[in-house]
């Protein structure tokens, strides 16, 4: 394997741009077809699992067990174990749902929209971002199902099928739109992810040493031989799936925002909700990709593949979408005043000065204030700082959902129904439990599947560019 060379400061790159100022490459120089395949498939096919993987997985798994315990207690006792009360009928169950679903959006954006826009930098991060989407949607789906208290009955509450009651779900309810949006999203994301995996699974099949690995990867790779016809079909299928996924980036979180916007509650009934939610989703999703990418590239030595170019671009996407979100906050406050509606006005005043004001100002500080740091190149170059900031963004977006949901509900139209919402330890157990589920799945994913698309990485190494004399 050739030793990758770093461009020297001051040296002129192609096009006369000084190396120090140019955008870093999407793959470190010096890589060949073989070195890419060796590096990525080596993570999966190695016989020695890094000790750090075991430690990380053990921690994540412990939280997954906490989730199991919580669900068990929830099913035995009922949703009374949560802090939900009468005006605040929805709390952690919908906050966490929106938070997780939002996180998933970055994966789809990276895999579909950036593919259609031919953004080469998506190549290194799309695979694990898509996996993140799937796991995030799985975590999200737990909350609406479990908040019914009896999820085994949820089939007929949620899905339209000819049941023995002669009833259909309420099609005018955004909650049913949610079911369709989320199931479509999960199905398409799964297909997209798996289709993209097939050529890599075949690579792993061919390189695997053990019989079991050969058979498992062999079955999963669906008989892929890499013939021209296979590639032709693959490209068509992948593009079609990208086309199907693209509207989902916008539609899924728009539908999620309808859960609020369609109701007539002050603070929810706003036309800005769909775009504001979509921007927030992409913002939080990129923060999660960053949270995952930084340790991944560090511990697996993938700095050559997930380069500073990716880190910079992700930071810029966070900056743009974060600014849209901040604009949304401004609009909410503006319309609370401009509407001249006393309830809207009170809602905003209560957010800013009421019992949850510290949370409101924290989210403003993070999502409108802190992200201004992303303007600075020095910040964008500091990976450790970006990791910490991305965790803050995750927290900030969670707080946003908390504020939207709880402050609008806890001050009902009638002061006699006002109450304070306080989450219980089971609320937190369930939330951290889903983080455990998410991380457990992610640890399994990076151990057993190629976290970076091998064959796509091979298309961006210099070797892949045809020389004039070779074109014939």
């Amino acid at each position: 394997m050739a030793v990758p060379q770093k461009p020297v400061e001051g040296q002129l790159l192609e096009g006369g741009v000084p190396a120090g100022r140019a955008a870093p490459a999407v793959i470190a120089p010096g890589h060949t077809f073989e070195s890419v395949t060796d590096k990525i498939s080596g993570i999966v096919l190695t016989k020695r699992t890094p000790i750090g993987w075991f430690i990380g997985f053990a921690v994540a798994f412990a939280f997954l067990m906490l989730l199991n315990l919580t669900i068990g207690h929830l099913l035995m006792t009922g949703i009374g174990i949560w802090g939900n009360n009468v005006p605040v009928g929805w709390a952690f169950d919908i906050i966490n749902f929106v938070w997780w679903i939002g996180i998933g959006h970055a994966g789809t954006l990276i895999s579909a929209i950036l593919l259609l826009f031919r953004q080469q930098w998506r190549t290194s991060i799309n695979r694990f971002a898509e996996a993140m989407t799937l796991f995030a949607v799985a975590c999200a789906a737990m909350f609406p199902l479990l908040h019914t208290g009896r999820p085994w009955l949820a089939a007929y509450w949620l899905l339209p099928y000819p049941n023995t009651m002669g009833l259909w779900p309420q099609f005018r309810s955004p909650l049913i739109w949610d079911v369709f949006a989320v199931t479509t999203y999960f199905t398409v994301s799964l297909l997209f992810w798996f289709t993209g995996l097939v050529p890599d699974l075949a690579t792993l099949r061919d390189r695997a040493q053990s019989r079991a690995a050969k058979v498992i990867f062999g079955v999963l790779s669906l008989g892929w031989r890499g013939s021209a016809r296979h590639w032709q079909n693959y490209e068509v299928a992948y593009l079609l799936l990208a086309g199907i996924s693209t509207p989902l980036v916008l539609s899924v979180h728009s539908v999620v925002s309808f859960d609020f916007a369609v109701s007539v509650l002050p603070g929810w009934h706003a036309t800005i909700f769909p775009p504001y939610f979509v921007a927030g989703a992409i913002y939080s999703g990129f923060a999660m990709v960053m949270t995952l990418a930084v340790p991944l590239r560090k511990f697996y030595g993938l700095e050559d593949f997930i380069t500073m170019r990716h880190i910079h671009n992700m930071t810029k996407v966070m900056l743009v979408t974060g600014m849209i979100v901040a604009y949304g906050y401004g609009q909410e406050a503006f319309f609370a005043w401009y509407s001249a509606n006393p309830y809207e006005g009170y809602m905003m005043l209560n957010r800013m000065t009421g019992p949850y004001a510290p949370l409101y100002w924290s989210l403003i500080a993070i999502n409108a204030g802190m992200i201004q740091l992303f303007w600075f190149r020095r910040v964008r170059d500091n990976v450790v700082l970006l990791f910490i900031l991305s965790l803050f963004v995750n927290v900030g977006m969670w707080l946003e959902r908390f504020i939207i949901i709880v402050t609008s509900l806890h001050r009902d139209f009638l002061p006699s129904s006002w109450d304070i919402y306080q989450p219980t330890r089971w609320d937190f157990a369930m939330f951290t439990g889903t983080i455990g589920l998410f991380l457990s799945l992610f640890f399994l994913f990076i151990r057993f599947l190629p976290a970076i698309a091998i064959f796509e990485m091979r298309t961006i190494v210099p070797e892949a560019k045809l020389q004039p004399e070779q074109r014939g």
Binding site: Y161, P162, T164, M165, G166, D206, V215, V219, L222
Partner: protein, 216 residues
């Protein structure tokens, strides 16, 4: 490198896709059929009672009116199960020493009610009222079937919610004149499509399908 899979693997892979679809479809279909089957709904099942009382004999052969025993059917939500005294009105005179009727006599002697097993058992979250159904021209037979032909009582219909709604959504298909409510084997003299809407109009029958009609 040796092949991992034999030649049949391709066919197997394709067949398993079809199989998966068929299995999923079959399973869903099975659940739908099972949920409506008498295995689940207990329809058409004879129920063992303390005494094998025959409606066939008492209604069909003797022509006793439903209300002789089910006295509160026109005024109450519950049709009423007769006390042992109602049985003894006749059975103190006829078949007064028949061995099959010993539990009835014992109940009367010891002043201990007979423990009949409920055949038409609606879930507790359903509020059903007999009297209003009779007032609006719903015959006993419509729900309970030809009781005069049942040697042992059985549940004639599924009692599934979709079965209730069949009528609540289209009462004109089942309504009959009030005078015919207790008739067994009723046949409308003019076609139901003519008399049904007339009776709906006359009795002021509403198609009540809001949740709280039955679930309060």
């Amino acid at each position: 490198m040796p092949q991992i899979f034999g030649r049949s693997a391709n066919t197997l892979a394709r067949a398993s896709l079809v199989g998966l679809l068929l299995m999923a479809g079959g399973l869903i279909g099975l659940l739908m059929v099972l949920g409506r089957s008498s295995y689940v709904t207990r329809a058409q099942e004879f129920v063992e009672q303390p005494i094998q009382f025959s409606h066939l004999h008492h209604v069909g052969d003797d022509g006793i009116d439903c209300r002789y025993c089910h006295t509160s059917v026109e005024t109450s939500s519950f049709a009423g199960i007769p006390p042992t005294k109602t049985c003894m009105n006749c059975h103190s005179q006829i078949w007064s020493s028949a061995p099959i009727l010993e539990p009835v006599r014992a109940s009367f002697r010891e002043d201990r009610p007979l423990r009949w097993i409920r055949v038409h058992d609606l879930p507790d979250f359903v509020y059903f009222n007999h009297s209003i159904h009779l007032k609006k021209g719903m015959g006993c037979e419509t729900c309970h079937g030809r009781v005069d032909e049942m040697p042992l009582m059985r549940q004639e219909n599924s009692l599934l919610m979709e079965w209730c709604l069949d009528c609540h959504r289209a009462p004109e298909q089942f309504v009959r004149p009030r005078s015919e409510v207790f008739t067994m084997g009723y046949r409308p003299q003019v076609p139901q499509s003519v008399i049904g809407p007339q009776l709906v109009e006359e009795y002021g029958i509403q198609s009540l399908t809001s949740c709280s009609t039955c679930h309060r």
